[in-house]
């Protein structure tokens, strides 16, 4: 189904700030099967020059999920959604103790054959105002 082009340019306000915790980072690292001690052990992280344990490079996706996509006005059928592409630009890694907000903006919607593609840019910023990571996601709604 064609997505509502009126959503292009729309930004979704941040929800409650997200607190990055050591437990959440470890849970994520366990889930991706990565035993790197810099994700788990504060001393190992410090030895690598970080103030606390850092999160894996793809962790920001867990912060980027946006409720706006479930707005019925957009017309997105989640059952048919797959991830088309993903890009991250990091100012620095997310780390334990960060409290961040994510502001997502739909930058483009286009048809590719029977599929609909949606580009979303998400800026992840600490509550102190430091931009930590920008996430660019392309999601695809597969045509029936």
């Amino acid at each position: 189904m064609a997505l509502n082009r009126d959503f292009v340019g729309r930004s979704f306000p941040p929800g409650e700030p997200y607190e990055v915790t050591r437990l959440k980072i470890r849970e994520f690292a366990d889930a991706i099967g990565d035993p790197n001690p810099i994700y788990r052990d504060r001393e190992a992280a410090k030895a690598a020059g970080h103030p606390d344990v850092i999160a894996p490079p793809t962790f920001p996706i867990a912060v980027s999920f946006i409720d706006g996509l479930s707005d019925p006005g957009l017309g997105l059928n989640f059952a048919m959604v797959v991830h088309g592409g993903q890009r991250f630009e990091y100012t620095r890694p997310l780390r334990a103790g960060d409290v961040v907000t994510a502001v997502a903006t739909i930058t483009e919607i286009r048809s590719i054959g029977a599929n609909e593609k949606l580009d979303i840019t998400t800026e992840i910023t600490t509550v102190e105002g430091e931009l930590v990571c920008t996430s660019y996601s392309t999601i695809v709604e597969r045509g029936a």
Binding site: I32, A48, T58
Partner: protein, 141 residues
């Protein structure tokens, strides 16, 4: 930041030996919980098939995470990654029995200023390329 690979020791074309990563259904369930992505195509076979997929498929971000791990294991410090991008070209199908294997290899594609290099990745599962245009920019020492 203490990456362990020296910029001076790396040339365009330097290869990073391939590694194989096993993916089982349990990994996808854990990843759903850790990431907050509970789309049932990643854990319920009947649902995946009902929407035209061959079986349960891995989260694209799970595969991207394996590529990230490949790069961070090479470079030493995960904090050395300054950019990372992929396209998901084909789903990683994860059967109940045996799971799936993703094989990742890498090559230094370009040397940039500021001790940064571009690493190009390839990722295959079941003879299919599952990532394309997969690149990480990392800062070496």
């Amino acid at each position: 930041m203490t990456a362990t690979v020296n910029y001076a020791d790396v040339e365009v074309g330097t290869e990073i030996p391939e590694r194989a990563y096993q993916i089982d259904r349990l990994n996808l369930v854990m990843y759903a919980g850790a990431s907050g992505d509970f789309n049932p195509i990643h854990w319920r076979e009947s649902f995946a098939k009902s929407v035209g997929l061959p079986d349960v498929i891995a989260h694209g971000m799970y595969t991207m995470a394996q590529g990230g791990r490949f790069v961070t294991d090479w470079v030493g410090d995960p904090g050395a990654v300054v950019e990372y991008e992929v396209r998901f070209s084909s789903p990683v199908v994860v059967p109940d029995e045996g799971g799936a294997t993703v094989v990742i290899s890498g090559k230094v594609e370009k040397k940039l200023d500021d001790n940064k290099v571009v690493v190009a990745l390839t990722a295959r599962s079941d003879e299919q390329k599952v990532l394309t245009r997969a690149k990480a920019v990392v800062r070496l020492v």
